[in-house]
């Protein structure tokens, strides 16, 4: 082993340690930024070490440098620009897009290595090559569809068509057969091309039938897949830093997926099977202001808020969709300035990804100690004077406590434990689960029918006239 070789291997080891420590530092909001910086430093070291390795070996041609430089330059610029300019509400689809290209890159690496392999290929290379192409291509196509669904480019509801399951099963069989043929060193490029196309198609037909509400879980699952694909690329190239980093991401993605599915009371199997969730379009005012629903005016609601001593705000996806996180913070500050104790009750799946609502509120300068997680939030709700629900639906539905409906058993925020409830919502339409929310017909509840941003604006104006 040459000196350069040893130095590169040691750098890879250091980079792997940076990734582990970086993720570990993300245990607390205070140290999370340092964690990200450490992880980025490890990444830079790994890439520089690899460049040193190929320069030292004199392996790369001038044409090779040109293509590598052009690709990396264009990719880095595209990544940097989109990451700087994306709105925080659109972030889940951007993460999904980055995940797609990562999976695509891993698949391309394996395809390239396959073209160089001379038969007979040992199984320790052929098997990871096939797995890398399969997982990488599936993730690439699946993540693009997931991203398109969140962006609204692809219908966000479940797209189910006749024979869809048969098609999925057929494609799986084709992919497995082509994979086995390729892994045993027969079939050449033709078999690999069949595998590649089948995997891409599987990614598309696999994600299409899944509704927009389940997309976060799917993105997290695909994130884990990409990690695994990258680890497989590490086996193919005999490169330790790819194996370690890929395995770390595979593990983290799996854990996150399980946590998310638990919070939504959904099994991963039933999510992947698809067909659940109506997407983003609220079922147009199904029982518009029906019997038993009490509507309140913004002024009445403002009086309730201004004379409360404890207010708990329950933000949901509607708040993010209406870009109302700054408006809600303005209202909270106004109330706090008037001596009202204000906190935020955040359901684990509020927003579009676990923790997404925390990011949105943090963007609006809400200090994170005010954001309460489920158990703590329910303790606060039980002695709150007013619970203000903004754009949240299923996560507040008391029906979850009873068996026999789609959300049975889902952990919910006990909004009905507060002394009174104000709900800002455009209509009494349904959430993702497609069922009536019993909270709206509770006698304690007043419905303020408005868009989240407009409703909050009216409340701010109302409170100002009272306290100003």
């Amino acid at each position: 082993m040459s000196t350069v070789d040893t130095a590169v291997r040691l750098t890879y080891l250091a980079a792997a340690a940076c990734f582990v420590l970086g993720l570990h530092l993300m245990n607390s909001p205070v140290r999370a930024r340092r964690g990200n910086q450490l992880s980025a430093a490890g990444m830079a070291a790994a890439v520089v070490a690899t460049l040193v390795l190929v320069i030292d070996a004199g392996a790369i041609t001038a044409t090779g440098w040109t293509f590598l430089g052009a690709g990396a330059g264009a990719g880095a610029l595209a990544g940097w620009y989109t990451a700087r300019t994306v709105r925080m509400t659109a972030m889940p689809q951007l993460v999904s897009l980055f995940n797609a290209v990562g999976g695509g890159a891993a698949a391309i690496v394996a395809v390239h290595e396959f073209t160089r392999l001379a038969a007979p290929v040992p199984a320790r290379v052929a098997v990871p090559t096939v797995l890398d192409v399969l997982i990488g291509a599936l993730t690439f196509a699946g993540s693009l569809v997931a991203s398109g669904k969140l962006q609204g480019l692809v219908p966000s509801g479940p797209v189910v068509f006749t024979g869809g399951r048969v098609l999925t099963a057929g494609l799986s069989i084709v992919a497995v057969c082509a994979g086995v043929v390729s892994a045993t060193g027969r079939g050449g490029m033709a078999a690999l091309a069949v595998l590649l196309l089948a995997a891409l198609a599987l990614g598309v037909v696999g994600v299409l039938p899944i509704g927009g509400a389940d997309m976060p879980v799917v993105i997290s699952l695909l994130n884990a897949f990409t990690g695994t694909a990258v680890a497989m690329a590490g086996f193919v190239l005999d490169n330790s830093v790819l194996i370690v980093a890929g395995a770390l991401v595979g593990a983290s993605g799996t854990i996150l997926t399980v946590l998310m599915a638990q919070a939504m009371n959904r099994s991963i199997v039933s999510i992947v099977a698809g067909g659940f969730g109506t997407g983003d379009s609220p079922a147009a005012a199904a029982a518009a202001a029906g019997a038993g629903v009490r509507a309140v005016s913004a002024d009445d609601a403002a009086i309730q808020l201004a004379y409360a001593s404890r207010v708990v705000i329950v933000p949901g996806y509607g708040l993010a969709a209406a870009q109302a996180q700054h408006a809600v913070h303005e209202l909270a500050q106004l109330l706090a300035g008037h001596g009202v104790a204000v906190s935020y009750a955040i359901h684990p799946v509020a927003g579009r990804m676990p923790g997404h609502m925390n990011v949105l509120l943090a963007e609006a300068n809400v200090p994170y100690p005010q954001m309460k997680e489920l158990d703590e939030a329910n303790a606060e709700l039980s002695h709150a004077d007013v619970a203000l629900v903004v754009g949240a639906n299923d996560v507040t539905n008391p029906a979850a406590r009873r068996p026999g409906n789609p959300i049975s058993g889902m952990p919910i925020l006990d909004v009905d434990a507060a002394r009174s409830v104000i709900v800002i919502k455009r209509s009494t339409g349904h959430g993702y689960a497609g069922i009536d929310n019993e909270l709206y017909t509770n006698p304690k509840t007043g419905m303020l029918f408005a868009d989240a941003k407009a409703g909050l604006g009216a409340l701010v104006a109302g409170v100002k006239t009272l306290v100003g």
Binding site: M43, I108, L237, A247, V249, S252, T254, I255, P348
Partner: protein
Amino acid sequence: MTNLSIFLLALLVGFEVIGKVPATLHTPLMSAANAIHGVVLVGAVLIAASAHDLVGYALALFAAGFAAMNVVGGYVVTGRMLQMFRKPTERER
């Protein structure tokens, strides 16, 4: 065999390290993990080194472009998110 051991141990470390992150940080964590698998850029450099025909160069071009977008975009967007998680005293805006 060595590679398989590394893989398995890294998986176990991943489960252990990540199981402790609070829900507040799940989105940044997902984004951070997403950036880490951009390390496949190393793979793109390695295939560029062994490419010697147009197909090989084209594959290296796309692999490098995809991977660089993943790694740069991933870290920048994670950094943007985490910048928002500051203590009230740290705020100047």
